[in-house]
Structures are given as structure tokens and as C-alpha cells.
């Protein structure tokens, strides 16, 4: 499997460390809501299909990547810096002009 690192280019999977399900957002550190924390730490979406997940290019530039990869075929749909995804405002699914 090759993962296209946005900095280093496509690299062999052996250069990467899997950092798991990216369908989770770390709760507000001040939150004491146990259920939210439980969900974050233990529960996984475990998608059969295109799966959002983190990989660290630990054997290269060490960046964490947000990768969308099919868990059925291992085909990689997209890969970008996790940092970008985390800092960019979340895109709404609605297209401009569409009804709420």
C-alpha cells in the first residue's frame, strides 16, 4: 500500500504509523461529560467502506495525515495534513444557495 504524503509524495505503508479512527473529535478538555469522553476513547465507527483515519508519516516528515481509505479495497481516496483539517472551519454539506 502506498500513502500519498502531501509533503513527501507517495510512500510505502511501512513508513507510516496508523493512528486510528478520525471520526472522533477530542472533547473540550474542560468537559467532564463521561459519556462524551468514553465515546472518544473507546468507541469506533469501524466503517466498512471509505474510512476517515489518521496516519503519521513517522518514517518521513512525521506529519499526521487525514486519509480517507476504503476498508473494503484499501484504495486511498484522499490524503491531506491532519493539521489542515483540524484548523480549517468545518465545511457544511449544504451547497451555497441550497435550502437549509
Amino acid at each position: 500500500m502506498l500513502i500519498p504524503c502531501p509533503y513527501c509524495g507517495p510512500r510505502d505503508v511501512s513508513e507510516f504509523t496508523y493512528q486510528g479512527d478520525a471520526n472522533r473529535t477530542r472533547p473540550d478538555p474542560l468537559s467532564t461529560d463521561r459519556e462524551v469522553w468514553d465515546g472518544y476513547v473507546y468507541d469506533r465507527l469501524n466503517t466498512a467502506g471509505d474510512h476517515r483515519e489518521y496516519w503519521q508519516h513517522s518514517g518521513g516528515c512525521r506529519s499526521h495525515l487525514l486519509v480517507v481509505r476504503s476498508t473494503l479495497t484499501h484504495a486511498i481516496v484522499s490524503a491531506g495534513f491532519a493539521r489542515d483539517a483540524a484548523t480549517k472551519p468545518k465545511k457544511t454539506r449544504r451547497k451555497a444557495g441550497a435550502r437549509p
Binding site: 509533503y7 513527501c8 509524495g9 513508513e15 518521513g60 516528515c61 512525521r62
Partner: protein
């Protein structure tokens, strides 16, 4: 101050080894630069860091991921987003970089002792390195001046192409002796010269 002690120890054996006939396929050298320094930019300050490297080391880095430049005594190349490895045969580069980089823009980390510089040059440099690294070494994919961060199993390495058939490798000092031994082993097939 005294010179650094090489980590290669008894593994460094000058002379011709491996296949004995013909020209040596590769020449292996420990280049022992005085300064190996990481300059890292906080997001948005990459340009400022590139300018600071120009000011402190006199090296103009090209744009682009993994872009780099090499002269006889100095080198710089990108190793990660906003991160550059800057190398100088003489000591004192870290201080010059610190003076040129504002703390709000980036950080300077001296790695002069932490990384060992090994040069692999010669007609079979690509062939020998291809045994160790899963990266495309062809000049079309890895052009002159460019740098790459990669690994050989447990050993992380930064590669810098400083001439068409010459690569400078930076590996963790503690692993340098093992890496050197593996490099020599890989080079036996084409014959190698340690200088």
C-alpha cells in the same frame, strides 16, 4: 574544542572492499560537518525561516516540499512541512540561525552531535541505496539538490542529493554504526571504497 569522536568506531575501515574488480561501485565517507541544525517554522512563517537561512548560511532554498541546495561546504533542504536541515562544515551555525530567527516565527534545534553525516557517491549509489530505502532515487523523481526524509526499518534517515551520483545521508548518531555496517554490506556486490 576537541573534534567530535566518530560514532562509527571500528566499523570504519578505510580502503577497498567487496567485489574487487573494476571501479568501485560506490565511495562511502563520513563527512563530519561541524554544524547540523534544524530550523523549523511555525505555520505561516516558512518564508521568514527561508529568509533567515539565507541570511545565516547564505543558502537560497528553492520553493517546494523537499527542495534543497548544496555547495562544497554547506547544504540545506526541507525535511518536513516548515522544517529544514541546514548543514555547515564549520561550527557555529546554530547560533547564527538563532540570531536570525525570531522566537515567534520558529525554533532552532542543534543536531550537530545527534546526527551522523554519511556520503554515498559513485556510479552505483542509487543501486546500493535502493536496497535500503523504499524511495524513488531516479533523478526524475529525486532531482539534484532535493532532500527526502525516509527510513530503513528502525533507522530514520534524511537523504540529500548533492550531486548527480552523490547522496549525503543524515542518521541518528546512536544507530550510525549499525547503519554504516548495513550500508557496507549492501555495497559489497558493487565493490566499495571507504574514504
Amino acid at each position: 574544542m576537541a573534534e567530535q569522536v566518530s560514532p562509527l568506531g571500528p566499523a570504519w575501515m578505510p580502503g577497498r572492499h567487496g567485489r574487487a574488480d573494476g571501479e568501485a561501485g560506490v565511495v562511502l565517507t563520513e563527512t563530519r560537518p561541524g554544524s547540523i541544525v534544524q530550523a523549523a517554522a511555525f505555520p505561516g512563517s516558512e518564508k521568514a525561516i527561508i529568509a533567515a537561512i539565507k541570511k545565516a548560511a547564505g543558502l537560497s532554498l528553492p520553493d517546494g516540499a523537499g527542495g534543497g541546495i548544496a555547495t562544497d561546504t554547506k547544504a540545506a533542504f526541507g525535511i518536513a512541512p516548515g522544517r529544514f536541515l541546514v548543514v555547515d562544515q564549520s561550527e557555529g551555525l546554530a547560533d547564527r540561525l538563532r540570531a536570525a530567527i525570531k522566537p515567534a516565527e520558529g525554533a532552532v534545534t542543534d543536531l550537530s552531535h545527534g546526527r551522523t553525516a554519511i556520503r554515498v557517491s559513485g556510479p552505483h549509489a542509487e543501486w546500493v541505496l535502493a536496497k535500503l530505502f523504499a524511495i524513488d532515487l531516479d533523478p526524475t523523481a529525486f532531482p539534484l539538490g532535493a532532500g527526502r526524509a525516509t527510513q530503513h526499518h528502525d533507522i530514520q534517515a534524511h537523504l540529500h542529493r548533492t550531486a548527480p551520483a552523490c547522496f549525503d545521508l543524515y542518521v541518528f548518531r546512536s544507530l550510525a554504526r549499525s547503519f554504516w555496517t548495513m550500508l557496507c554490506h549492501a555495497a559489497e556486490e558493487v565493490g566499495y571504497d571507504v574514504r
